[in-house]
């Protein structure tokens, strides 16, 4: 394991170091004193698919894990906007809150956020064959959750009892599923979205990813069973073709 002190480093210098370490075959890195450096993890593409584990102490800047290609990143603190932008594979764990456009256009991998997240979470998230992005939020999200969502799984656990206050959930949604612990009003969701109770398959999905969430945050001392026994609702698109009827012939 290697440590980097990010205190004096600018974004590019930090990412230079990370890339060099990946190329040198280092698999685990701890970065301390991170304060606003962007795109951590983005420069780590290698044709031979090397994988690193990166632990971050501090507050990473925007676009953390953008285009991430299979690495694992843990943030001991809050994250800003754009976490997991167009992420392809890998895992991000945020021991705090995340900002806006979390998981934007994400197509694979997992993101776990302990607390709440901002606007436009999981916007245009998509899935393809074995690539299934999963985003689990301990708290809730602000407006425009799952806008244009085309695939993947989003779970909001509302562990801190604030309720889901976000509006415009799933506007333009045409794929994937959002699971919310608690209730949601019809007016909060987009017209393309159906609110339904969970079936057996949904329960299995929840069981699996809530377990993973609980494992990621041992300090919270959560019980999966306690969480799962509460009421959940599912938001899913009414159609895979939301805009098929807006044109003249």
């Amino acid at each position: 394991m290697i440590e980097i002190d990010a205190g004096p480093l600018k974004t590019r210098e930090l990412n230079d170091q990370l890339r060099d370490m990946m190329l040198a075959g280092i698999q685990k890195v701890v970065i301390r004193n991170v304060c606003g450096q962007r795109y951590i993890g983005t420069r780590l593409y290698s044709p031979d698919h090397r994988k690193m584990e990166i632990e971050i102490f501090g507050t990473p800047g925007n676009d953390l894990a953008a285009f991430l290609y299979g690495h694992r990143i843990t943030v001991h603190g809050n994250a800003q906007d754009g976490v997991g932008n167009t992420m392809d594979q890998g895992e991000v764990v945020v021991e705090g809150r995340a900002g806006d456009v979390l998981g934007f256009s994400m197509r694979g991998g997992r993101i776990f956020v302990r607390d709440n997240c901002g606007y436009r979470t999981a916007l245009h998230m998509k899935e393809y064959e074995d690539k299934l992005p999963v985003l689990v939020i301990g708290g809730t999200s602000q407006d425009f959750l799952g806008e244009y969502m085309a695939g993947g799984i989003v779970i909001l656990l509302d562990l801190y009892g604030k309720g889901h206050k976000g509006n415009f959930m799933g506007t333009g949604m045409h794929g994937g599923a959002i699971y919310l612990r608690g209730v949601v009003e019809k007016e909060q969701v987009g017209s393309q979205v159906e609110i339904s109770p969970l079936d057996k398959l949904d329960r299995e999905i929840l069981d699996r990813y809530v377990s993973e969430f609980v494992e990621r945050f041992p300090d919270l001392c959560l019980s999966k069973e306690e969480i799962l026994k509460d009421e959940f609702v599912k938001l899913a698109p009414k159609s895979k073709r939301p805009y098929s009827k807006i044109y003249a012939y």
């Binding site: 974004t11 304060c35 606003g36 962007r38 501090g58 507050t59 990473p60 800047g61 925007n62 809050n78 800003q80 906007d81 809150r97 900002g99 806006d100 901002g118 606007y119 602000q142 407006d143 425009f144 509006n167 007016e187």
Partner: protein
């Protein structure tokens, strides 16, 4: 048709970083911390503008309006001659108790600074002007200077506060005015700018201000033409080629002249969408419907995050669907607003609370005891 008659206003487009820090006990602190914080968002700007607003910096002159002036021109002589023109105007309309060139450091990296001067003044109203309140008189005179006196530009005009701004990165502008050494304020707001043009025009930097209201802004206001047309009906001259100006004037019109509380002002600048209004109870629905009908031309459309500063108050607000970020945080008596959380953490690693307010929801921080600064 001669070209001049067409509506050929220029609007600069710019985007940016914003930061604000306030001590609710009214304790004053230097600009050092906010300079560090804004420098941490260096990449959000491009070195073509930075500026600060500081509240509580002139306690010895707190009863006087503090005018900050820029005198521009191609040569030192041109700048001085602009000052001569302005001084004549000032002596006619104000009693000046003190004036001096605003001190600056020659080591800072800034380009082509104008001559920058400050005056502490009281209005000298004559004839029918006696009917105007002091503040209306100041607004009128500021508009006059900015439209009529060539190369002279009032960029700060409130009491016990001041703006400092120019072309450069904000940390360099701070250094130029030595804000980390010479001034202590209970509220600082800061702006780092990313304009899409380079006319090195110091007046185009943020904050924009009128009396003690200052605005720093991130985003582009797509309703600018509509907002401007509306404000010009009320005597506000938009001279700065920048959309942010209209927010400062809208805030002045609504908050000072019409005495509308900030919570309502927020509903004018960033109203809820009709779908949400339709679901409200009758009383609220009526209020919001009426606000939109009356003040529709002041709806600030397009992405924005702003920090409005006023005496004893700092307000953060984003557009109604929060297209621009703002993070609010507290630590003890300190209150922070920032485009990015990391900048707050840089100067206050431990925070009591951190949140990102909803679009259109104002975050208001007021002094615990407003008298600490007024008396």
């Amino acid at each position: 048709m001669p070209r001049i008659r067409r509506e050929l206003y220029n609007k600069e487009i710019c985007a940016c970083s914003i930061f604000g820090a306030m001590n609710r006990d009214g304790e004053r602190f230097t600009g050092k911390g906010v300079m560090l914080a804004i420098a941490n968002m260096h990449v959000r700007g491009n070195g073509l503008g930075g500026g600060f607003a500081a509240y509580g910096i002139y306690p010895e002159y707190k009863d006087y309006y503090a005018f900050h002036l820029m005198f521009t021109g191609n040569s030192p002589e041109a700048k001085r001659s602009a000052k001569v023109g302005f001084d004549a105007f000032l002596c006619e309309n104000f009693d000046v108790v003190s004036d001096e060139e605003i001190p600056h450091s020659d080591e800072a990296v800034v380009s082509d600074p104008p001559l920058i001067w400050r005056y502490f003044v009281l209005p000298r109203k004559q004839g029918e002007e006696a009917l105007l309140s002091d503040e209306d008189y100041i607004v009128k005179m500021v508009m006059r200077v900015n439209t009529e006196i060539e190369n002279a530009h009032v960029f700060s005009s409130g009491k016990n506060m001041g703006c400092f701004k120019g072309v450069g990165y904000p940390e360099d502008i701070g250094e130029y005015f030595m804000l980390d050494k010479l001034y202590s304020a209970y509220t600082w707001t800061v702006h780092g700018r990313f304009p899409t043009n380079t006319q090195a025009w110091w007046g185009g930097a943020h904050p924009f201000s009128l009396l003690d209201t200052t605005v720093v802004h991130n985003g582009e206001i797509s309703s600018y033409g509509t907002n401007r047309w509306y404000l010009e009906m009320y005597g506000y001259a938009c001279t700065l080629q920048t959309d942010t100006e209209v927010i400062a004037y809208a805030a002045d019109l609504l908050m000072r002249r019409q005495k509308i509380p900030i919570e309502i002002v927020a509903k004018i600048l960033a109203p809820p969408i009709w779908n949400s209004i339709d679901r409200m109870d009758e009383k609220e629905k009526k209020l919001l419907t009426t606000l939109r009908m009356v003040y529709g031309s002041l709806l600030m459309n397009g992405p924005f995050a702003i920090i409005i500063g006023q005496t004893g108050k700092m307000i953060g607000l984003t557009d109604r669907i929060r297209l621009r970020p703002i993070t609010a945080a507290t630590r003890g008596e300190m209150f922070y607003l920032s485009s990015e959380e990391a900048s707050i953490r840089l100067i206050s690693p431990k925070l009591d609370s951190v949140r990102t307010p909803n679009g259109g929801e104002p975050v208001v921080c007021e002094l615990n005891n407003i008298r600490t600064v007024l008396e």
